[in-house]
Amino acid sequence: MAETVVQIQGLSKIFQRDSFSVAALEDIDLTLESGEFLCLMGPSGSGKTTLLNIIAGIDRPTKGQLRVLGEDVAQMSEDRLATWRNVHVGFVFQTFNLIPVLTAYENVELPLLLTKLSSGARQEHVLAALKLVGLEDRIHHYPRQLSGGQEQRVAIARAIVTDPTLLMADEPTGDLDAHSAEEVLDILTRLNRDFKKTIIMVTHDPRAARHATVTRQLEKGQLLPLGA
């Protein structure tokens, strides 16, 4: 029986902008089982990224219940959340967000610096992650020396190097050409299919959505019924 990874009930997020209150998410109910590949779609400003951030513990809901991997993420302290993210969540961003002064190897190693792994063990993990994304020959390259597709693959390697349960991808193909986008989506699909990673991906791209096992639409902060 599949384990419930994300369970959301009546979740809302309201941003305060000066004297205005903007409801980014309203009364969201969502359940995600282990091994699912969820695609969140919707127009700009519909609240996709906000929902992703809240699930990942980098933003907090205004109200509602949220349990991720059995933990009440919204109630965790900042420091506990940081450790929790390091262990359980991997992130892939639209703009790759690699550290420009670090090589591909060092970027991937970054989350492991917070663990108690020895240098040798870290190296093993980093090389395995880079091999999985097909960049084992680019370990000493800096981000500026890589193509956009390669940068995003390094970002995926960084996201999976701690072997997290949950992968969050926010418009991972948004800045890529069609070919690179397909490569990145193939990797994500493989991670879901072969390594049983639970993935939540935000995208505008219907072609990207085809790689997901479940697609949900968000509109004006509301999650539309399945199949809408």
Partner: protein, 377 residues
């Protein structure tokens, strides 16, 4: 973590280099000021234990005393040696070649000033010959003199130009002094029989206050009253003539410190602001606020301490190497960097590094990740 700090510092090499250089130059200047400030604060360390006293005209050091006082001074109980000491104020060859030159009693000067060691044969030659002179080793080295050299002192306010022969070199004591015969000067001036001051040696040193009182009492109500004081009190008079130099140094030093703080703070503020998004990424992958704070503080510390090592270290090497032992011709001071000054600069660098990065690093560490991520790319 240190690797991250160093990588970030090298991100903008030119900015890091220029900031470090600015800190280094500023701290070099500040170190030089601190050395002079400290030296002025304790210019005569150990001088109070020297049993030497100065007898000068009570009205001021610019007025002279009669030469006839010497015998009466010698008779005061506790006084074991007396020498005339007239500051001559000449230079050698070029006005730039200023040094301390005095007309003294050749017979007794080394009985009073026992710190200087001279070979007996050279001392005998000095006493024997009216145009003979002796000089301290440091002075001899400075002008590359050697025994037998003819030295003419020019530009003295006395209006005479003694033509002298170097007959001896002494080491230790005030080894940048130059002595020649007071008799020669007196004769050249038409036998005015006046003396700038007297230099006396007291034994035991505890007798000094009583000796001073006796001498000043002896000449009270004469046309040339005396003021007898310890060597340190006498020298302090010269320091006070410099005015509130320490206050000015303190003021300049504070301004320099503030300027360094602004330099480092500006660099760190720019560096942190540019990396808000990166800080957010690092927080996302698991770095805690304390990690982010630690990285930025570490960068500021490395930057400031690198500048401090170059600037303060450079000043230490330079001043210790120069071995400057006087502030002016009259004010001796050991102008080396003392251990407490080094400690002060270590603390100052630490304080500046923390003050410069404190606010921006705190902001970066406390940023809302989701908010900062909206501005990435």
């Amino acid at each position: 973590m240190w690797r991250l700090i160093l990588k970030n510092l090298l991100r903008n090499k030119r900015r890091t280099l220029l900031t470090t250089a600015s800190v280094a130059v500023s701290l070099f200047l500040l170190s030089a000021l601190a050395i002079v400030y400290t030296a002025l604060g304790k210019p005569f360390e150990g001088v109070d234990t020297v049993p030497i006293m100065m007898v000068r005209r009570a009205a001021g050091i610019v007025f002279s005393l009669p030469a006839r006082y010497q015998d009466r001074l010698k008779a005061v109980p506790g006084v074991v040696a007396v020498s005339k000491l007239s500051w001559f104020g000449g230079y050698w060859r070029d006005p730039a070649n200023q040094f301390s030159n005095f007309a003294v009693d050749a017979e007794t000067v080394f009985d009073v000033q026992t710190g200087g060691v001279i070979h007996p044969d050279q001392l005998a030659a000095f006493k024997r010959e009216r145009i003979a002179a002796v000089a301290g080793k440091r002075l001899v080295d400075r002008f590359h003199w050697k025994i037998g050299d003819r030295i003419t002192l020019l530009g003295s306010p006395y209006g005479v130009t003694p033509e002298l022969v170097l007959r001896g070199i002494f080491t230790g004591g005030p080894d940048d002094h130059f002595y020649f015969h007071w008799d020669y000067l007196n004769e050249a001036m038409g036998r005015l029989n006046i003396v700038g001051m007297y230099w006396i040696r007291v034994d035991p040193v505890e007798a000094a206050p009583r000796v001073a009182q006796t001498i000043d009492q002896m000449f009270r109500n004469t046309d040339a009253e005396t003021k007898t004081e310890s060597l340190s009190a006498f020298l302090l008079g010269f320091v006070s003539m410099l005015g509130n130099v320490r206050g000015i140094i303190l003021l300049i030093g504070s301004a320099v410190t503030f300027a360094i703080l602004l330099i480092v703070a500006n660099t760190m503020a720019m560096s942190v602001r540019e990396r808000f998004a990166e800080a957010a990424i690092m927080r996302t992958v698991g770095f805690r606020k304390s990690h982010i704070l630690g990285i930025f503080v570490g960068e500021s510390l490395v930057l400031t301490f690198a500048g401090a090592v170059v600037g303060v270290g450079g000043a230490k090497i330079l001043f210790d190497g120069l071995a400057l032992r006087q502030i002016s011709q009259f004010v001796p001071a050991d102008m080396r960097m003392r251990p407490e000054t080094l400690l002060f600069f270590a603390a100052l660098s630490l304080g500046m590094a923390l003050a410069a990065v404190g606010w921006p690093a705190y902001r970066a560490a406390r940023l809302q990740i989701a908010e900062a991520l909206r501005h990435t790319g």
